[in-house]
Amino acid sequence: MATLEIRDLHVSVEADNSTKEILKGVDLTVKQGETHAIMGPNGSGKSTLAYSIAGHPKYTITSGTVTLDGEDVLEMSVDERARAGMFLAMQYPVEVPGVSVSNFLRTSATAIRGEAPKLRTWVKEVKSAMEQLQMDPAFAERNVNEGFSGGEKKRHEILQLELLKPKIAILDETDSGLDVDALRQVSEGVNRVHATGEVGTLLITHYTRILRYIKPDFVHVFAKGRIVASGGPELADKLEAEGYEEYTKGGPVSGANSEEDVA
């Protein structure tokens, strides 16, 4: 069973000629089949965690480890991480002018699977995945993320999740900017992938709303660059009722043991 292990991860960025530490010792273990929700206020470092694991060059890992089944993820290039089974659904997917969705999907599926999918079955596979996400077939001929609405971008990310079948999927604020219908369809996509039992999901979100559709096994509160509280789904209910205030106030964090390996 695939396991992603994050140990004492410290990450910094260069900004205005100074180095700023954003992640200050993150510990987390995500196993295939599990769904973890990471919840936290703006600026707590949630997205930094997602992008650092994916290998974005903007972030510098200063210490700690990330392994996938014991393999050192931090040693891998961005594309190697994806081929090893990591997937990041981005909050702000990037426009790639001139590259059609269908070409992009096939190119990435070929890279991930190690061989070009057979055309006939591939076309069917894409078509049915798009139908399930209520995406117009004409979508495949548009350029990647170019002129997409917020909802279309997120559906497109989840479409990739469904087609690329990663071992570990990190969903970075996939729920933000979605109306209720889109949120439901996107969540159904995530649940379909989860139902296969083949993927471990790290769901990063600011809001509890998406947790009505996606049921996490574990909920973690993220504040000031680290996990400050962990629990089951009931923790999300508490956050919904009380907000993040308890975790963002100055001074030592109460009631949390961020060093504990929760999974």
Binding site: S77, D79, V94, F104, L164
Partner: protein
């Protein structure tokens, strides 16, 4: 109407739109057009039309020191009904589509010995392209090529340039009334070649001319496509794509002279650059003369810089002498292949090199799809793929 974005350091993109007296197109040249090389002073490099070109790499084409003596073959393959002739300098059909605008073009016109004339009779509609294979085996050559279409004829001409040469030439396209001519000119030279050529199109009444210029090779390639209209209702579409590698200088200088009412022109050139010393120059001059009421024109240049060390100079100029037009505009933008695009593609398992190829192919495909001739499009995409496979 000019736009510019994400301009890499060391590049320029400057546009002008001038009205009436403030001429930016006609008066920028250091001498008026002429067939005689003696009418042009030897350029020193600061002239408007030479300031982007490294003169020392012209191998003497610009100063009279390049003596013909190279080996250059021109092979024309044409479907039945087309006349292919080799003629001498006195042939009356030469020089009818335009006059050399700079010293190298005039040098070519003053120096060639034999010209090739390809004629498509009136009303002939060719189903197969005419192929002109220009192949150099080294050394200097001067050439002159004429392609003429009679009234209502339709033809596709594909000109391939391969091998090594120092070539200066003029190519005339005389498009008869109501005729349709598509020309694809591929510069697929060895990395040592120098190629300077002026393409002159004279477009008849209600005729259409489509030019597709594809520049991949050469040490220095400098092309001057020129368009003028012989009657109302003419249409010109000028497409170009170039892939400029380390050390290459590729320059495309266009002039569309709207001298006749109710004509159209559309210019779209796209280039990708990579490597140290890669230098692409695009000059898009459009002149709308006072008589050219009802003109509709647009020109666009886009550049994609893939690595550091490459330089783009992109200068669109629009000069308008009448306000009674349908439309006139231009756009120029130079962007970098950005790290976020690369990250996005790589995060989907696509290796960096393949991601780059995917983006460049897409960048060019957008242009190729506008050509409107499926077999030409297919061949070009295959050519682009081969180029990308070899160099990115």
């Amino acid at each position: 109407m000019a736009e510019a974005q994400n301009i890499p350091v060391g590049s320029t993109t400057a546009g002008t739109i001038a009205v009436a007296a403030d001429s930016t197109v006609a008066t920028r040249m250091s001498a008026p057009p002429s067939f005689d090389v003696a009418d042009f002073p030897v350029p020193h490099g600061r002239e408007e039309e030479w300031r982007f070109t490294p003169l020392e790499r012209l191998r003497g084409l610009h100063d009279g020191t390049a003596e013909a003596g190279g080996v250059l073959t021109v092979e024309v393959t044409a479907p039945e009904g087309v006349t292919v002739e080799t003629v001498d300098r006195t042939d009356a059909r030469l020089g009818k589509a335009g006059t050399p605008v700079d010293r190298v073009a005039a040098q070519a016109y003053s120096s060639f010995e034999k010209a090739s004339v390809v004629s498509v009779p009136k009303e002939a509609v060719l189903t197969e392209p005419i192929r002109i294979a220009v192949h150099g085996e080294g050394g200097t050559a001067y050439g002159h090529q004429v392609v003429e279409l009679g009234a209502f004829a339709e033809a596709v001409v594909v000109i391939d340039h391969t091998g090594d040469a120092v070539l200066a030439a003029n190519v005339d396209f005389v498009v008869g009334d109501g005729a349709k001519l598509t020309v694809v000119s591929v510069q697929d030279w060895d990395d040592t070649a120098v190629h300077v050529s002026q393409h002159n199109a004279r477009i008849g009444r209600d005729a259409s001319f489509k030019s597709v210029v594809v520049t991949f090779g050469g040490d220095l390639v400098r092309l001057n496509p020129q368009v003028q209209y012989a009657g109302t209702g003419g249409e010109a579409e000028l497409f170009g794509l170039y892939f400029t590698d380390a050390g290459q200088h590729q320059e495309h200088r266009l002039l569309v002279d709207h001298n006749t009412p109710h004509c159209k022109s559309n210019v779209a050139y796209k280039g990708a650059l990579q490597g140290d010393g890669a230098h692409a120059v695009w000059i898009g001059d459009v002149l709308i003369q006072a008589a050219a009421e009802g003109t509709d024109t647009y020109e666009l240049n886009r550049n994609l810089v893939l690595t550091d060390g490459a330089r783009v100079d992109s200068v669109p100029n629009l000069e308008i002498e009448t306000g009674e037009i349908v439309g006139a505009g231009h756009a120029s933008a130079t962007g970098r292949f950005d790290d976020e695009q690369l990250f996005y593609l790589m995060s989907r398992g696509i290796p960096a090199g393949e991601a780059r190829r995917l983006v460049v192919r897409g960048f060019f495909a957008e242009l190729v799809q506008q050509i409107g001739l499926p077999d030409v499009e297919e061949r070009l995409l295959a050519k682009i793929d081969a180029e990308l496979e070899a160099s990115v």
